[in-house]
């Protein structure tokens, strides 16, 4: 047999490859789906929680400890402002003397 004849025969055979039956294709696909790993559930990854305005303000002041001190100071300041001098003397056990900051300024309120 000559090379040309053999080449023609091989080329013809290459064009007439056995084709898989529908049954085989279905069996292979069934195997594929049975053995296929399940897709992992989708979930957000690496997203930082949103920070609110108040939280950012508190962080700017120094966080919770600083806020506690600030709050206590504010309450104490309010109390000082509202309490009468007598009550304050009672609470502190001292006598509040009147102090004159401008003893020479009396003439400003004098008529005539």
């Amino acid at each position: 047999m000559q090379d040309d004849d053999l080449d023609r025969l091989l080329a013809a055979a290459a064009r007439t490859a056995p084709q898989p039956s529908e049954d085989l294709m279905q069996r292979v696909l069934d195997d594929a789906l049975a053995l296929q790993p399940k897709a992992a559930a989708l979930r957000p990854v690496g997203l930082a929680p949103r920070v609110g305005l108040l939280a950012r303000f508190a962080a700017a002041l120094g966080g919770a400890p600083a806020l506690a001190g600030l709050g206590a100071a504010a309450v104490f300041g309010m109390a000082l402002g509202y309490l009468s001098p007598t009550t304050l003397d009672y609470l502190t056990g001292t006598a509040a003397d009147a102090a004159e900051f401008f003893p020479d300024a009396e003439f400003l309120s004098t008529e005539g």
């Binding site: 047999m1 004849d5 056995p18 084709q19 085989l24 292979v28 195997d31």
Partner: protein, 200 residues
């Protein structure tokens, strides 16, 4: 993922998609790889269709199992599949100690008397003669000839499948083709070349 996209993706990308649970990838790989493995196995197994289907299904089964550990860039999917199919065919040939080889009587015969029936009969006879001649080749020569001349693979691809050097592939295909021509020379009548006026 749309099926069109699966149709354009490489085999290796489809393996990753399959391992990630993409059903379209499973279908695309089935359609791409199974026909090639079946044809190859049928030619190595002397045209035994039932055994070739078993080999094709087993090869694909192993492909699905290895998909989660598939490492891209190391081996092509087709190379891996041909290699597995080759080994499965060798195992089957050893276990059955070679079934009686295909003869002209095994070739399907056209049953109608329509014009062209005679040509189809002669084509079937030629294919049967070729298959019988292939079956007489040593295993490695048969693998190399089938991969090169029937599956249309390049020598480097064949070298990767057979895990040998390209020079060894060239040697195997050359010797295999010479032996094939010699085997077929005794079947000139079956091939119909004398009737066609071809020199033998």
């Amino acid at each position: 993922m749309a099926f069109d996209a699966a149709g354009e993706a490489s085999d290796e990308a489809l393996m990753v998609l399959y391992a990630n649970g993409d059903r379209h990838a499973a279908l695309a790989l089935t359609r791409r790889i199974t026909p090639r493995v079946l044809a190859y196995a049928a030619r190595l197994l002397s045209g035994d269709r039932a055994e070739a289907e078993d080999v094709a299904q087993e090869t694909m089964l192993r492909l699905w199992k290895i998909a989660p550990e598939w490492r891209q860039g190391e081996t092509k999917v087709t190379t891996w599949a041909y290699r597995v199919a080759t080994n499965l065919c060798i195992d089957r040939q050893r276990s059955r100690h070679r079934k009686p080889q295909m003869t002209l009587e095994d070739a399907p015969e056209p049953t109608d008397g329509a014009p062209g029936a005679e040509d189809r009969l002669q084509d079937s006879g030629r294919m049967a003669a070729l298959q019988a001649a292939l079956s007489e080749l040593p295993d490695r020569q048969r693998q190399a000839v089938v991969l090169r001349h029937l599956e249309g693979m390049t020598n480097p691809e064949i070298a990767a499948i057979m895990e040998i050097g390209t020079e060894a592939v060239e040697s195997l295909t050359a010797r295999g083709k010479r032996a094939l021509a010699a085997n077929l020379s005794g079947r000139k009548a079956a091939l119909g070349y004398e009737d066609d006026g071809h020199a033998g």
